[in-house]
Symmetry: C2
Subunit: 305 residues, 2 copies
Amino acid sequence: MSDEHGTIFDGLIGGDSSQWAFGTGFEDPLAGVDTTVPDGVVGADLAAYCLMLGDDALVMAQRLSEWCSRAPDLEEDIALANMALDLLGQARLLLTRAAAADPGIVPVLPAGSPVPGEDALAFFREAGEFRNVRLAEVANGDFAHVVVRLLLFSVARLALLERLRASTDQVLAAVAAKGVKEVAYHRDWAGRWFLTLAQGTDESRRRLLTALDALWPYQNELVSLHPVESRVAEAGAGVDPRSLRGEVDAVLDQVLAVSGVDRPDRAPLAGIGGRTGRDGMHTEALSRMLAEMQAVARAHPGGRW
Amino acid sequence: MSDEHGTIFDGLIGGDSSQWAFGTGFEDPLAGVDTTVPDGVVGADLAAYCLMLGDDALVMAQRLSEWCSRAPDLEEDIALANMALDLLGQARLLLTRAAAADPGIVPVLPAGSPVPGEDALAFFREAGEFRNVRLAEVANGDFAHVVVRLLLFSVARLALLERLRASTDQVLAAVAAKGVKEVAYHRDWAGRWFLTLAQGTDESRRRLLTALDALWPYQNELVSLHPVESRVAEAGAGVDPRSLRGEVDAVLDQVLAVSGVDRPDRAPLAGIGGRTGRDGMHTEALSRMLAEMQAVARAHPGGRW
């Protein structure tokens, strides 16, 4: 059938049709980008750093996408799904970058499974190999919970991405330049809803304060320094998260002040034996999330289902 | 905090902050569009017609969004989420149009619940009030199932939207003009994956044929005429679905031929007492979907959760 949209298989039939026998999954999202590891950066460190930022985005995207069709109205349903998609896109690029920087971190699959590196990293790592902050993995609560989590997350991520645009790594610089626009919207959405719930009904304010109290201890992990981050920042390819503290505190203080909410008096979440989410130390919530997220891919490794 | 993205509350503080106490949900997605019911069309018919096309999109969007984080790889995860978002956007406009064309169809909520018409229609109707085709509501199966369903759905919807651009109703014409571009991509995605699975492994082909056989009987409902469609088409505001049959058959035949798959020999799904999905006659799958989709909104009607 040829209509104004062209034949449905334009560019397919008569071309190299063999690729389609395996779907479109082989497109390299970094095609055309300079993926040379910059001078002074160790490939394994750059890969671990990309996993940290990529896993933050991947796990947050999962939690946001669980809200698909559960938001209080169609407009917010669309907003949440859009934000999940933004973060999923960031995750895909960062995991691809991680695999390119150090192929050794990519899980080895059964022989003959044609799975790209970013998918192997997303679907075939165990919880202890994920490097996201624990704030991203906490199980979903009510709508106030998703608002508070997204506020804490995006305030820190926006401050990070702004600085990361100057990375000596071309891929990270490009990911950051695109991400700044996306996360600026996320932060704005979360800030507006924070104010809305704070000034809404007694019930909305009560729920907001409950969520803020529960999530506040997780915020610290976003602005703490891991040795990998230290080395990558030192070499000019990354950002020292401690340098974000001034901006993060100022933005959060502004949101709290305008909403008439006190800064919670909660101690930061402790690591376990000095280890945090950045080291693969996670809560049970992550294991449960991964069990669901990885089920289809693992049932048919390379099977293109 | 004022940075390059502006104060987080730009345009909010000092403005009419009272609106924010109820969130942003009141934005009218049809603001600025001429919503006069065209001459010769009965408002109640136009509303019912918009529900048919809107519910098709809403229920399909739900089924696609259930794939969030369950697709076989990140690229398809993103593609499925994007397509769900496209359809959710179409649904929102069409439900808003339905509420404007006949306010009498909007469910009455507890006193004082400030819920826009499209949300009341999405979250406070019972299954028997939904007018979608049953193809959209069938419970999800495997990846081949989502491919076949989307192919059957989008081949017919694209043919419909192409013609609907000439609607005498300004809203429907605008929704169609935007939707054509979106659904052209959906059809292409589904067609390519259909071929991929047909020519892939024995397992992928077996699954594809199973899904095709199961879903084929539902296809007929998309190209059958309901009295409401008849009257709205007669008045120039809608499209007679029977006029789509030539194009739908031709496109499906092309996809089947290139994939080496025979047209299934399955009878169309029967109505019950002459009634179909367009009349609110649905399978249990829709009730189960709505129970989940409507839970949050119903727990707090107008509560902005």
